[in-house]
Subunit: 300 residues, 2 copies
């Protein structure tokens, strides 16, 4: 299972990065292969200063060894071995009319002293963070998520859409990070779903990523924008930073367990602003975005 | 004691903001008075887009009521009443040759059911974050801190200088936030130091702030700089954001206990960059700064 999924995310990284380079037309992903001293490593691919993508990363990693102490407490287990692999991506487009996107698909195993699997699960999701809200973009993204989910279970989409809205929430701002998508975790074998079924579901979502995001990029990347639009994008990117550094479990875990810092923090936007007590004008499209972020909508 | 200290920080806010406005010559502090629903409130003063100060805040607050649940656990006490007041300031100058500065002086009381004080202490400090290191600036700042400390106890400077280096440390980057200064906390009455003595010490440090910082601003504010200097400043400001959002106890406490968000996050810089895996050129002045941040020096 772990070899099959690791092969899958390697191939997915290739197909996603080559498609994004094709769209960008100017910048190429820079690749860094890194090793984790305690076991495993990763392949980080970052794009910067493109004509479409101002900054982004599409990273895979596969790490193993003794489960770090902090994770033992978190998972409420003893001194066990583990394996974890996944693909994480974040794309920050230059044009404020193109939304930022984040996706992650991951697999986790823990072993007893004889190397037998004692626990295993999938997790992941994908979510959209617009700076200017085109409702049809949010609908397209969510519809693509729903179509992938519905092939496996008619309740997955509504459950995982709700969990996404709950997870990507800036509690200190009382607003969502974006317009959501899917979030699932601890997907374990049950009477209904074997690990094989979960593999099929997670890879179905992974395969849907380009279908969900690329048409939005194509539609918006050449729209005109002003310096005011750009300032708004940079202010909103500040909220993205706040979520990732204050609330995101994956980021904090990485920072506190000696992960590869540059691979983790590739998620942070290239240019960001903080303006004291900033509020968009009443009735503006910027204010409309905030309203939707405060009151998550059903998009399909 | 609490009324005397609250009066002190009100007066100090006035003297600091008027001096800073005089130096800036262009921008004025914008004042926001706010109330805390559970008791107390504050007076936030923020300056933006000045000729010297790109963004900064000099805020006071005095809050009281039932100690929030999360703080009960933190202080290991039950359901008690509290009073806390303090002045917090952060200044982000426009010119990369002028360092960012942070300072905070605070006082805390907790009461039993009869309103009797069961615990009380002072805390605070001041620290400097240069983007380009002028050693004489770091020496001047530290010498001013030492002079204030030495009037009260010959060991205070070396103790609180060390605690400052330890506290303002970006563990995930293995480097200090800046070149330090002073950090002290839980300054409680003892055989050597009454609360009155602590009041005299803390206000001595507070009174030293303008002497520590203003000469540095005057020396550096008109130095020429390039876009490359400015980019470096914005990248280093990213580390400032990382410290404040990931590690700073005060910020996280505020965010998680329903503090006034805009007053807390005034500390975040106005324009910030994150560049993937950025390293200054070997032998550059930028690299020299990093070396000092990784290996804190004795400045006096």
């Amino acid at each position: 299972m772990k070899d099959k999924f690791y092969q899958y995310i390697q191939d997915l990284q290739d197909s996603i990065t080559s498609k994004l380079e094709e769209i960008d037309g100017k910048a190429k992903f820079q690749q860094d292969i890194w090793k984790r001293p305690e076991g495993g490593g990763g392949r980080t691919r970052v794009i910067e200063n493109g004509s479409v993508f101002e900054k982004g990363g599409v990273n895979i990693s596969g790490v193993h060894g003794k489960l770090p102490k902090s994770m033992q407490a978190y998972f409420n287990v003893g001194d066990v071995d583990f394996f974890a692999c996944g693909l994480s991506l974040v794309l920050h487009p230059k044009n404020p009319m193109v939304p930022t996107v984040h996706a992650n698909w991951r697999y986790f195993e823990m072993y007893d002293e004889d190397g037998k699997i004692i626990d295993q699960w999938y997790g992941g999701g994908q979510d959209l963070t617009p700076y200017y809200l085109f409702e049809e973009d949010a609908k397209h993204f969510h519809q693509t998520c729903k179509t992938a989910c519905d092939k496996h279970n008619s309740e997955f989409y509504s459950n995982y859409k709700k969990r996404c809205d709950e997870y990507f929430y800036n509690a200190h701002r009382n607003e969502g990070r974006g317009v959501g998508g899917l979030f699932f975790d601890y997907c374990k074998a049950s009477a209904d779903m074997s690990m094989e079924h979960w593999y099929n579901f997670v890879t179905e979502v992974g395969d849907s990523f380009l279908d969900a995001y690329v048409p939005i990029v194509e539609m918006r990347k050449d729209l005109q924008y002003t310096q005011a639009n750009r300032d708004w994008q940079e202010i909103r990117r500040g909220r993205y930073v706040e979520f990732n550094l204050v609330h995101d479990k994956g980021t904090l875990f990485g920072l506190k367990t000696n992960g590869r810092i540059e691979s983790i923090l590739m998620s942070l936007p290239p240019h960001v602003q903080w303006v004291y007590d900033h509020h968009p004008e009443a009735g503006s499209v910027e204010e409309k975005l905030i309203e939707v972020l405060k009151n998550p909508k059903d998009w399909v």
